[in-house]
Subunit: 358 residues, 2 copies
């Protein structure tokens, strides 16, 4: 098959990890006789530096013409410390999600058995946990009206959902539940928020179409607690943009490290694949970033956007095999990991490629 | 000393646990020669059933006239399953927080050593963790304008903060940090939200007045992850109403169980003391609820509202001693707990009282 992929590396460790992701795509193309072509595009701080705009029009055009996007990360400490900055790297990420209509963000949370000891959670609590998050990605307080009043002394954001927005993500989540353990947990704060009450109403309605799916509703505070107390109770979790942001980062601890977590952002057209982790400027350029989230993002791309199940499995198996061989990046090492097994970004990539090329 | 306490038991297990809390107050009064008088007031579902109003005027009047409030919980599954209900138990809790100006919610998170094995987090990650949360309690999306548009098909809530609201909670948090390890972490989502950018600006300003305090800012998603990955890195955490709701429930896992966590809601006048846990209708009336969060709420009341340090310590020591003797309620038992050491609500209360009366 021929596929055209736009690589948007973005900021910080985005460059380092997408480089490995792209090598994995090349290895898959060679092995399975596909033809993958690439283009690159700017976003975030990198785009601001080059063009003044965190999301240049060209990036949108190229992305729309692609079969899939391999995304790195956005963000820069400069803006974090300057709350008054008008132009910000994150506008690039939010902008592309919106421009491409990527309303469903899938975040699978599953621990590789070899990483049981890398997590701060007890192994017996973790073992067998397998959660698929559906985070709504183009609505909520991320995109509602915001601003200042009272001469700048009051600031507001609008948390907002329409019935249609909830319906379409709900359908995706219920469909996924049908292919899994047929359990769905919807997370909201309906005891306080009107947008959550609409959310809950719509989930209850859609649930009628899926009588086989066992549905539960949890308030976001309770969900944040239950995720750590008993992650195995969850199968598919569906929630809004903000709650999904918080809960999936939290849930990264179930998978041992943020450095292991991939995500797929899909909508009606092309898909965007990115690690859950951010730009991590503290380790940028040091060659120590864990590239496995980018590698696993490639696996999601192969599976979801290209329908290449065998290829996707090959990538996941390569990751599994490298972990079984005892190799770790710093973030997933534990005190018992021998120093020579702790690899940098490129070395870890080389181990993956070696297995894919074998 | 003479003190007048209003007991607002509310819904679900609220009745059972505040009953134990009140017995503890009586024991302290007897032992230290204080005179505690009590009144009761209605709130939540209980108040709706009796008066149609989740927060009757009388409850506010009595509360304002009190030296402190011992609070149970609010909530009822009936409303949770009916997103369209106009009158809801939670309005009682939000209403009293607002009416009394209880803008600072203190949630200390500290594990009793004996409960190291009750948590789903590894003991070596937990041991020594000691976090004091300051959750802003009368602003944010809890109190902003909300409603429906488009014939009910769109719902919105307003996340809103004014400079003044952030300042006063920041000052409380920085003051507390000065009495502790002099570290403060402010949590927001300033890379996306305008209200968070104002929040961060104000924290940065107030920080100048406390040069000795080491300040860090974390995005809420990262904070949710770090709390589990490395709880010991936190000392004082200050955050908004919604983020505080989510993060403190999550952090309950650091203390082994929600059933152990007390909170103090303070402002300019009287203080309200309540467990972090909710009404827990699944176990209501079974006599198995853990009363220790209510007992520890009493300790906070004695300390913060009444300035009775020795009395507060006596209560905490009684809890510690009961745990050291191996007694547990169900929620904090682990597989190694012998059946005869697993106590119900009243029995656990009796163990505490026995030590206070000794
Ligand atoms: C960088 C930031 C805007 C983004 C978000 O909050 O969505 C990130 O945290 C994520 O989860 O993809
Ligand atoms: C019951 C609910 C409205 C309340 C809140 O969200 O504030 C509760 O979760 C709490 O944390 O006290």
């Amino acid at each position: 098959m021929k596929k055209h992929i736009v690589v948007i590396a973005g900021d910080g460790i985005g460059q380092e990890v997408t480089a490995v992701g792209q090598q994995v795509l090349d290895a898959i193309a060679a092995k399975y006789n596909h033809e993958f072509t690439y283009d690159t595009a700017l976003i975030g701080h990198a785009a601001i530096e080059a063009t003044g705009n965190p999301i240049p029009e060209e990036t949108i055009t190229k992305s729309k013409a692609s079969d899939a996007i391999l995304f790195g990360a956005v963000g820069h400490p400069k803006y974090d410390n300057d709350p008054s900055a008008k132009v910000r790297p994150e506008q690039g990420l939010l902008g592309i999600r919106k421009a491409l209509g990527l309303y469903a963000n899938l975040r699978p949370i599953k621990l590789f058995d070899e990483l049981l000891s890398a997590s701060s959670i007890r192994p017996e609590i973790l073992k067998g946990a397998d959660i698929l998050f559906f985070r709504e990605l183009t609505g909520d307080v991320y995109f509602g009206e915001r601003g200042r009043k009272d001469e700048g002394n009051t600031a507001y954001d609008t948390m907002i959902y329409s019935r249609y927005e909830v319906e379409r993500i709900a359908i995706k989540a219920f469909d996924a539940a049908m292919t899994r353990r047929k359990k769905l947990c919807s997370v909201d704060k309906a005891n306080v928020l009107e947008s959550s009450r609409l959310w809950r109403e719509v989930i209850q309605e859609i649930a009628h179409r899926y009588p086989e799916v066992e549905v539960e509703h949890q308030f976001v505070d309770a969900a944040a607690m239950l995720l750590i107390k008993d992650p195995k109770r969850f199968d598919v979790v569906v929630t809004g943009n903000l709650f999904g942001d918080i809960l999936t980062d939290e849930a990264s601890q179930i998978a041992g490290s943020m450095g292991m977590l991939a995500s797929a952002s899909i909508g009606d057209t092309t898909g965007l694949y990115e690690p859950i982790h951010g730009s991590a400027h503290d380790i940028t350029g040091k060659g120590v970033a864990n590239p496995l989230a980018s590698v696993l993002s490639v696996a999601l791309m192969l599976d979801i956007s290209f329908g290449m199940k065998a290829e996707a499995d090959a990538v996941v198996n390569a990751v599994d095999s490298v972990l079984k061989a005892g190799f770790r990046t710093r973030d997933i090492a534990d005190p018992s990991t021998p120093a020579e097994k702790i690899l940098g970004t490129e070395q870890m990539g080389a181990q993956i490629l070696q297995r894919l090329n074998a």
